[in-house]
């Protein structure tokens, strides 16, 4: 199936989970990454149970924060 990841079209295996995509995309510091699918935020505890569908648009958002 075809999905779009961070603006790039990709061919991936059917029923790919978000958790596997995070691994396949070699996401650094995945504990600081939020994932959206078609602009909907995926709960971090649901990466394993969330399956992607053909045509999905996925974004990785890296936590950005700090303190003085």
């Amino acid at each position: 199936m075809k999905i779009t990841v961070a603006g790039v079209n990709k061919e991936v295996a059917d029923n790919l989970t978000v958790a596997q995509l995070v691994i396949d995309e070699k996401v650094e510091t995945p504990e600081y990454v939020t994932v959206t699918i078609n602009d909907e935020f995926v709960e971090s505890g649901a990466f394993e149970s969330t399956t992607l569908k053909d045509g999905d648009v996925v974004e990785f958002l890296y936590f950005m924060g700090g303190g003085q």
Binding site: D39, E59, Y62, G65, G66
Partner: protein, 137 residues
């Protein structure tokens, strides 16, 4: 080296002053030319911590900014935030939460309101290195 236009600097400064006493924050995007970062767009985001000591970018606004950058052909270059009461240098928390060694981390100090100081840093692990910042008309 990283370049910022004077008008974008003033945009950051105005937003940071408006958000006082809290920290203000946002993203920077642009192009990379011969290894130099050219900031073409500054994004002013909500600090969802609403704190004078911490900041966290609003993820929804972050998503919108990423899409806007892409539509304009820009790449994410890093982020910026203000230090209302401390110098323009990364705190221990800033360093701990800086996961991207390629990003530029800009810090605007408003400790001396009459003389704001903006610096840009690269952060690797617990080491922060100031990078050359050029603010031009």
């Amino acid at each position: 080296m990283i370049k910022l236009s004077k008008s974008d600097y003033e945009k950051i400064l105005a937003h940071a002053e408006k958000e006082l006493p809290n920290e203000a924050c946002g993203l920077i995007a642009g192009t990379v030319e011969n290894g130099d970062k050219i900031i073409k767009e500054v994004y002013l985001l909500t600090n969802i911590d609403h704190s004078n000591e911490h900041f966290t970018l609003d993820p929804k606004e972050q998503l919108a900014a990423i899409k806007d950058m892409r539509s304009k052909g820009y790449v994410p270059l890093g982020n910026w935030h203000s230090h209302p009461e401390s110098p323009s240098r990364p705190s221990e928390e800033d360093k701990r939460l800086a996961y991207d060694s390629k990003a530029s981390y800009m810090i605007l100090s408003l400790m001396n309101r009459a003389e704001p100081v903006l610096n840009s840093f690269k952060i690797t692990g617990d080491t922060a290195k100031k990078e050359e910042l050029i603010i031009e008309d």
